[in-house]
């Protein structure tokens, strides 16, 4: 997030796109609702009428995967009607002309055909966005989990730059991160192209710095593989040894049958986890890890705040802290790492080796955490990024993009769009929440959420078991007939192994980020008797 949660409650306007915040980030949503009660405007762009829509001034129920068409049309109106922030768009940003040229190809009438939103509504929304300044834009995986995910993200940034909503409190582009420490895992360099603090592996100066700090030579120059490439590598034999730390890939990756084949092809798999999962059954060695409350350490949240995690209970049996396990493996390769606690790792290595973290030490985050960039020990941390009007690469650069449809669109055989996400009472593949008695009590099984119109057409009753089928596989779940979902759409989560939506999802990826298109694939729904007969 460029901005911070503390700004939500006093923001004047929100544009929430592709984010089921009330279920996936419930506490963040409370601050949005507080702002709305205080008079803030809320525009929700989402195919589903999710819970936050109850508080929205406008709900643009666009078609799945048409975000760029809609946002480009909004920008079209802003430019055509001269409503954009000229000083910011031309003074603080480059490539405005490129943006202009592109969005002028998207008059509301053209985009309306793609996204299903009335052209006049598009015009009104553009005017409303221009009328209130600043506005906060929040998005989640509804933006990223598409084959055009990167372009979606760029387009949200284009809009906020055009409106001059960057670098100011209560504005910005704010992706709400899904996991507690997905921000931290990125920041720490668990990415194939960067060390921690986003220092590039292909920069010789940076490599030299880490070679010196770590007392090694010959750090690899070439960026490594991303997860989907690793999975391909397992199948084609290029990747032979696979180390899976705390991820349940067998259920979280799209097209579960394909994933099972890939994991099965590995020569040697190590899984390091707190529970046996659908993935650990592919492992040759399983290492037991200490869990959340059995560790001292830090998490970094969506707003870049590094906060403390503390030990409350002992790890069961022989389970060990993860950092210890990695250190012990390094030792067997002749590397003796000095740090002997999470605190020593942070204070003595992480903090000193990346400018963003120079000022963050355990002694400073006993109470509230600090938000990076925090370059020195007297720096208060950074709530709002780019607040001097300057962007990471100098100036903000408009990156206009064309709309492109999802990789798989409904057809006669598979006439419905399946979109997936999370529900309030569970988390991911339930390795944790599935072992919380009360949460299972509140939500015990997966459903296929469908509209009243489709239910009637199919002759399906609420609560009736149905088969949802895609080109990859089929699952049998109960139908949840709801007004949240528009006609033509099926919505499911991937929490339960039984009826997991990832048996159906399409392993099509954004060409650059290799993020899978979890939000759109084509399915059909069959009544059980039909499925049996067919």
């Amino acid at each position: 997030m460029t901005n911070s949660f503390a700004e939500f409650a006093r923001a004047k306007m929100f544009l929430v796109i592709g984010s089921n915040m009330a279920e996936a980030h419930p506490v963040a949503a409370t601050f949005v609702k507080n702002a709305v009660l205080n008079g803030a405007k809320l525009i929700v762009i989402d195919p589903r009428k999710h819970r936050l829509v109850d508080f929205a001034d406008r709900h643009l129920q666009l078609k799945v995967g048409s975000d760029i068409a809609l946002l480009n049309a909004i920008m079209h109106v802003l430019i055509q009607e001269d409503l954009y922030d000229k000083a910011f768009a031309t003074g603080c940003c480059t490539d405005f002309e490129k943006l202009k040229e592109k969005v002028l190809e998207y008059p509301p009438e053209r985009s309306a055909d793609i996204c299903g939103i009335d052209p006049n509504t598009i015009r009104e929304v553009a005017r409303e966005l221009a009328a209130v300044k600043p506005a906060m834009l929040c998005y989640t995986l509804g933006i990223t989990e598409h084959t055009c995910g990167k372009n979606n993200v760029m387009t949200t940034a284009n809009l906020q730059m055009l409106l001059g909503n960057m670098g100011v409190a209560c504005g910005g582009v704010n992706p709400l991160r899904g996991q507690n420490n997905v921000q931290g895992a990125c920041d720490m360099g668990a990415l194939p192209n960067v060390y921690h603090g986003y220092q590039k592996v292909d920069d010789p100066e940076i490599r030299k710095k880490f070679e010196k700090a770590w007392g090694v030579t010959g750090l690899p120059e070439k960026p490594g593989l991303m997860i989907p490439q690793m999975m391909d590598g397992l199948a084609n034999g290029r990747v032979k040894g696979f180390y899976i730390f705390g991820e349940n890939l067998a259920n979280t990756e799209p097209d579960m049958d394909k994933v099972a084949h890939e994991l099965d092809s590995a020569e040697f798999i190590v899984c390091q986890d707190i529970f046996p999962t659908e993935t650990t059954r592919f492992a040759d060695v399983i290492l037991p890890a200490a869990a959340w409350s059995e560790n001292d350490g830090t998490f970094t949240n969506s707003e870049r705040r590094v906060s403390r995690v503390r030990t409350a209970s002992p790890a069961p049996g022989e389970a060990k802290p993860n950092w210890w396990i990695f250190k012990e493996i390094a030792k067997r390769f002749g590397h003796d790492w000095p740090a002997n606690s999470a605190r020593e790792i942070w204070d003595n290595e992480i903090s000193g080796l990346a400018k963003n973290f120079n000022g963050i030490k355990y002694s400073r985050i006993e109470a509230d955490g600090l938000q990076w960039p925090c370059p020195s020990e007297d720096h208060p941390g950074t709530c709002v990024l780019h607040s001097s009007g300057e962007f990471t690469c100098g100036l903000g650069r408009f990156s206009p993009a064309d709309w492109s449809p999802p990789a798989e669109i409904p057809d006669e055989a598979y006439p419905l769009v399946l979109s997936t996400g999370r529900r309030l009472y569970h988390y991911h593949t339930r390795t944790q929440t599935g072992r919380c008695e009360g949460l299972n009590d509140l939500l015990g099984e997966e459903t296929a959420d469908i509209s009243f119109a489709d239910a009637e057409r199919l002759g399906v009753e609420h609560g009736e078991a149905v088969t949802v089928r895609s080109r990859r596989g089929a699952v049998t779940v109960k139908a949840n007939v709801t007004s949240e979902v528009p006609e033509g759409m099926v919505w499911m989560a991937f929490h339960f192994n039984e009826g997991c939506a990832n048996r159906l999802t399409n392993a099509a990826f954004d060409p650059e980020t290799l993020t899978a298109e979890y939000k759109a694939c084509a399915v059909t729904i069959e009544k059980i008797d039909q499925a049996a007969a067919g």
Binding site: F5, A24, P26, V27, K33, L37, F55, Q179, N180, N181, V182, G184, A185, M188, G189, A190, W214, G218, L219, P220, G224, M230, R238, V239, K240, Y243, E247, F268, I286, L287, P288, A291, W292, S293, F299, T300, N301, S302, E303, R305, R308, A312, S313, G317, E318, A319, P321, W323, F326, A330, F333, W346, D368, Y427, C436, E437, L439, L442, T515, Y518
Partner: protein, 374 residues
């Protein structure tokens, strides 16, 4: 805006127009008791425990909802104020099933309350603001006798996994209603009925499970008495027996700050860190109630090595040697890039740092990733 002056307990204090008496007092570390007041929500002034004496005014004024005015002279513990608070406390203690040693004073022998077959002892004893204030103001609960003794208490609601609602101990302060409607804005509960029939209701007076409740538990955290209690912590948790450990929630990317209430190295309950960034004391259902997975019997407790289609337990020594040997052998045969690793977006920063360091500096490959984009 220019700051102005008032006097509280003979101290001359600055305030900003718009501040209430309570806010000015709190800012200056002057304690005024509150029950219904919920920080950040609209003051209702309903319980009257925060009344103070304002010179020149005929009646006492509730500090939570009276704006400070220039040159006000205020007394927060004058005899008149104390007498009023004692009377309010007597009434509240007599209003319901407050069968702690204090609330049962009217029984003469508090042990008699335990023999009341309609009820258990209050689970909030020791964690009750009403009890604290009764102790502070030496109120025994003997003054008023309830019209019907013993009355049938309304039944407790226990039909959900997390929250026990005991209406017999509710003092109708309305903090839960504000927590639900103004703080979390889930709009599941409200005041229902009228007069002596008044009750906090979910939906049209249905169990929480059948209402719009999403079990965030904000109401439990707001309840000053024993009316709303975490089901699993009832009678397990005594505040003086537990250690409070602050940590960060293990679920979504908001990073809520939690207080873990720990007894004998076991987490008994979780509350939000009031005023802590970023959540300001708020939590969701997973953060507040989703912690018991760590005690699951399914936990992996020892290294396991695959053998003959099954797994056998192994020592760390054996498992680590095996991992190192196999990786060395694969690197010798296929080069460093024949190894790949996926880190964990749930675990601490230090773990991810350590794993990428292992891959880069020891294995000599950049094949390290995690589920960053999903």
């Amino acid at each position: 805006m220019q700051s102005q002056k008032i006097t509280i307990n003979d101290k001359c204090l600055n305030f900003n127009p718009g501040q209430t008496i309570l806010e000015v007092a709190e800012e200056n570390n002057i304690w005024i008791p509150t029950l219904c007041y919920l920080k950040g929500a609209t003051p209702t002034g309903s319980c009257r425990i925060c009344v103070v004496e304002v010179e020149g005014r005929r009646t006492l004024s509730p500090a939570c909802s009276t704006p400070a005015e220039p040159d006000m002279v205020i007394h927060t513990e004058s005899p008149k104020v104390v007498a009023s608070r004692r009377d309010i406390l007597e009434l509240l203690l007599a209003s319901g099933n407050h069968n702690c040693p204090l609330g049962s004073g009217r029984e003469k022998d508090w042990k008699a309350a335990q023999n009341d077959d309609s009820t258990e002892l209050c689970p909030a004893c020791g964690d009750c603001r009403l009890q604290d204030l009764a102790v502070y103001y030496q109120v025994t609960g003997e003054k008023y006798v309830r019209s019907k003794e013993p009355e049938p208490h309304p039944p407790m609601e226990t039909v959900n996994p997390f929250i026990v609602r005991d209406f017999s101990r509710c003092i109708l302060c309305g903090r839960c209603v504000q927590a639900c409607n103004e703080v979390q804005v889930n709009r599941a509960i409200s005041f229902g009925y009228r007069g002596t029939e008044s009750k906090i209701v979910a939906g049209i007076d249905v169990p929480l499970r059948d209402s719009d409740c999403v079990f965030c538990g904000e109401c439990v955290q707001a309840c000053p008495v024993g009316a709303l209690v975490e089901k699993n912590a009832r009678y397990q948790w005594r505040p003086w027996e537990t250690e409070v450990i602050r940590t960060t929630c293990p679920y979504c990317g908001v990073g809520c700050q939690l207080n873990l209430h720990v007894k004998d190295r076991r987490i008994l309950k979780v509350t939000g860190v009031e005023d802590g960034a970023p959540n300001k004391g708020r939590l969701c259902v997973k953060g507040r109630f989703g912690f018991d997975f760590i005690y699951s019997e399914d936990r992996l407790k020892t290294p396991l090595i695959k053998e003959n289609g099954g797994y056998r337990e192994a020592s760390w020594l054996e498992a680590l040697e095996l991992v190192a040997d196999r990786f060395k052998e694969i690197i010798d045969r296929g080069g460093p890039d024949a190894i790949a690793g996926v880190s964990c977006a749930r675990s601490i920063n230090e773990d991810s740092y350590q794993m990428q360091k292992l891959f880069r500096s020891v294995f000599k490959t950049n094949n390290i990733d995690h589920c960053a984009r999903t």
